[in-house]
Subunit: 205 residues, 2 copies
């Protein structure tokens, strides 16, 4: 069964709430609590959970661990498990630190940079390699997702290298739009452009 | 003249390229170089610049400083000039550092947190205040854009406080969807959900 993108996004968010309760002894949660915590309509939550076959207990709610496992079975894929992060400037470091700190199904398995001071080091428990080893690592470890945080001047070249090496999904934090083949997914996170566009939109009001 | 959102985004990106050349003596740039650096069709670049009244010199290209000023006149607004960042955890710090390092039309004028260790300090040259002073500061300084990087449990409460105080644009880095009035713009940057959704999409291929 193919789930709509919005449903996958919500399931991902439900799971992140559930993570927090996982160390409790036999924790349960009600759909309306999940709904409240995420600011979603409770009917929507129940519909999503029913869609993936989740069933709650009327008195206790949903079993947290079972629900986490169920969500994982539906949305996790071995293919998207390994992530690399390319470009360890300030933003790259921040994202590496932020993600290394999280309980995620996915792992950042390697960082890449050209700076000899960083290459060979371990940052936030993740080893940093020379960008010359990028292609080999992607192929060897079957990495399919890359977070791109290189300076914009390098974005196109590095993106091409990533795709040629087998990367199928890119989270693009550079200001450059990438022309990628149809089978490669790109999601743009351009913070500065978003702030400037927001400012423009405010001026029209 | 109201510019389409995509045009504003491109103009913002052109300007970021231009910034790099601003210290040169009388710098010029060709539209095809701008296009190449941003991976955009040169015809598109010329069309955008023509739309805002920019004119290039056939032999030298566009005058960098004039073009920067022209873009600023078209897309910058006094209303969106001041930004605050709320929630100075790891991601908040990272974004503050990343943005404080940039040449932007916009300024992050204040950080907000509840942690007494952070409140009263200056981080990345930006003062950090107690969240209790949030509302007063927004009104007094006429702040209209906030970057929201609080833990998800606080997202709804803080967003309501922001909007009640006069904020009209929110860059939302939490995993919570915000129900905001129509006149408030929200842009979501949910990195973990994006990674998980990408993983799911890869599994369908």
């Amino acid at each position: 069964m193919k789930l709509p993108g919005k449903t996958v996004q919500r399931l991902s968010r439900y799971r992140r709430i559930l993570y927090k309760y996982r160390y409790l002894e036999e924790p349960y949660i009600f759909s309306h609590d999940l709904a409240r915590l995420l600011n979603i309509n409770p009917v929507q939550v129940r519909r999503d959970l029913m869609l993936i076959g989740g069933s709650g207990n009327h008195r206790k709610g949903y079993h947290v661990k079972e629900l986490m496992q169920l969500i994982g079975e539906k949305i996790d894929s071995e293919k998207g498990r390994k992530i690399i992060l390319v470009g360890i400037g300030k933003l790259g470091q921040a994202i590496a630190e932020y993600l290394s700190d999280r309980e995620m199904f996915q792992d950042i398995i390697a960082l890449f940079d050209i700076d000899p001071v960083k290459v060979g080091k371990t940052m936030y428990d993740i080893p940093c390699f020379d960008i010359r080893d990028l292609s080999q690592m992607i192929k060897k470890k079957k990495v399919s997702i890359a977070i791109l945080t290189v300076p914009s001047d390098y974005a196109v070249t590095i993106a091409e290298l990533l795709i040629d090496s087998g990367i199928e999904g890119i989270l693009n934090f550079t200001s450059v739009r990438l022309n990628t083949p149809e089978n490669v997914f790109v999601q743009d996170f351009d913070i500065i452009t978003s702030l400037e566009e927001m400012s423009y939109r405010l001026s029209l009001k």
